[in-house]
């Protein structure tokens, strides 16, 4: 991978922040966008902006081709069997909520169980809390090992014949742990449950094959994988989606409308009420083209090297706590940490003065923060455009942060 060339596609990286060259280490929050994506959006709005699936005019046809063409790109990207299984949403949150509100409310009843893990993002906790509250089901958590990973023994103990839904993240946005989703899916299926995979932190960074994982649902966001904000994907097995009711009703999703009832369009459109996210889908398609040209395996390997390099360098900083497994082979490209005696907000502010962007806070994972016994943490996350120099600057910045705070004390 030629990082110099890759960086040249991201115009935003070529700037100074607070008088220092920008070091962007917050891709787990949102990734930057390459010119290929920016130009695809530009071209759509300048040349063929039009509504889709209606009208017979030329622009409408071009827009429809662009939108449905993006769906085919997504299908191929995650190796789904059919484009009927690819639903465009505004992001991971909406994707998971769609499964919870439709499949969850219809198939979960009192006495049933929904199983999640301690490392879930709020968007893969709260929809299931709501299903449990409304149906009288029990929400159960798979515990974490000392190093933040989950063991298949615990998975087997937690999932029972009463479990209807298992919802688990592919990659933790805090611990960087990559979960054994394929094995968890097998255990879920043996117990008659479906598995919902939160792919927000996984799909952008490693090759995901829904048929190989045998997951029933997969949710992910475009903006974390070089695409625009406001577009996401819900993949679902056709046999499940066909029997699910839509959650949003209105234009676009109907077949026949009578005075007192209506019928729905076929998949996937019955889940896409209203004018869809046309530009977003086209931008996501361009992002997929971009990522596939570089290759997901090469991206994963690059991030893996960066994570190993960062772990190695950061562990030598005095007073540094690194969360999650210290074995780089168990990790994706992010490092969550705390510096003794310096609150993560203060770390982030001092780093920002150096042009370094990191995330500080609870990372939308309050139950996990409780498990870590930390009220907040700082996180540096990497993507294909980051290099070792970025990590050197981070380490330098962290050492200076420590010095600065010991000086003022």
């Amino acid at each position: 991978m030629n990082i110099k060339e890759i960086r040249s596609y991201f115009p935003i990286l070529d700037q100074e922040v607070n008088g220092q060259p920008l070091v962007y280490l917050d891709s787990a929050a949102t990734s930057q966008k390459p010119v290929q994506v920016i130009e695809a959006l530009n071209k759509y709005y300048r040349e063929y902006n039009s509504n889709v699936h209606r009208g017979v005019h030329t622009l409408g046809t071009r827009a429809t081709d662009g939108y449905e063409g993006a769906r085919e790109k997504v299908r191929k990207f995650i190796n789904a069997k059919s484009t009927k299984e690819i639903i465009f949403t505004k992001g991971t949150t909406e994707s998971i909520n769609t499964v919870a509100s439709s499949y969850g409310r219809a198939n979960v009843k009192e006495g049933d169980e929904i199983v999640i893990t301690y490392m879930e993002h709020h968007s893969n906790i709260i929809p299931w809390q709501q299903v449990a509250i409304h149906t009288g089901a029990t929400l159960k958590y798979i515990p974490l090992q000392e190093d933040g990973t989950i063991s298949l023994d615990d998975v087997k103990k937690t999932i029972t014949k009463n479990t209807k839904i298992v919802a688990v993240t592919l990659v933790s946005n805090v611990l960087g742990v990559v979960n054994p989703v394929k094995e968890i899916a097998k255990i879920a299926h043996e117990n008659g449950a479906v598995i919902v995979v939160d792919g927000a932190q996984g799909v952008p960074h490693l090759k995901v094959d829904v048929q190989d994982l045998d997951c029933d649902f997969l949710a992910f966001s475009g903006h974390k994988m070089c695409g625009p904000t406001g577009i996401g994907v819900l993949y679902g097995k056709k046999s499940l989606l066909e029997n699910m009711e839509p959650v949003q009703f209105g234009g676009e999703m109907i077949d026949f409308v009578n005075l007192y009832d209506s019928t729905w369009k076929e998949l996937p459109w019955k889940f896409e009420g209203g004018t869809p996210i046309i530009a977003g889908a086209i931008g996501l398609g361009a992002a997929i083209d971009f990522l596939e040209e570089i290759g997901l395996d090469a991206i994963a390997e690059h991030e893996h090297k960066l994570a190993a390099y960062a772990l190695e360098k950061m562990k030598d900083i005095n007073g540094m706590t690194i969360y999650g497994p210290h074995d780089p082979s168990k990790r994706a490209g992010l490092v969550t940490f705390n510096l003794d005696d310096v609150h993560p907000h203060d770390v982030a502010t001092v780093l920002d003065a150096e042009g370094i962007a990191v995330r500080a806070g609870h990372h939308c994972a309050q139950p996990l923060m409780k498990w870590l016994k930390a009220s907040a943490t700082a996180r540096a996350s990497f993507y294909l455009y980051n290099n070792e120099e970025d990590i050197d600057k981070l380490v330098e910045g962290l050492i200076k942060t420590k010095e600065y705070f010991s000086d003022v004390f």
Binding site: H345, A353, G361, S375, V408
Partner: protein
Amino acid sequence: MSFKNLDTLYRQVIMDHYKNPRNKGVIEDSDLSINMNNPTCGDRIQLSLKIEDGIVVDAKHEGEGCSISMSSASMMTQAIIGKKVEEALELAKIFSEMMLGKEIDSDLDLGDIEALSGVCKFPARIKCATLAWKAMEKGIREAK
């Protein structure tokens, strides 16, 4: 690297309040106890107040957060003890104006609070500084 800009945020007096917080703790027989958090970052404060004849006779804070939120809580309690509740509310108003970068013209004794005026140059940190003040305002207004 220049820390000149940072020094407008992290003044000595702020760091002193962070390291040696004044009025830390919980008043057992308080008249008002307010819990408030900043859901986007995890900062949390429990503020307890003792009010007699319309005067704040004691104020204590407990919680967790960054240097700015914790020092602000320390300074806030220090500033309002001995003041009438109306004056405490007036201070909260002055403080939010200070966070907007406005010039402050008041006869009230601001104590150490002015040290936080540099926060307005760091928009991402204003919420940290105002947490304790919001808790105080909320508590007093609800009690009224």
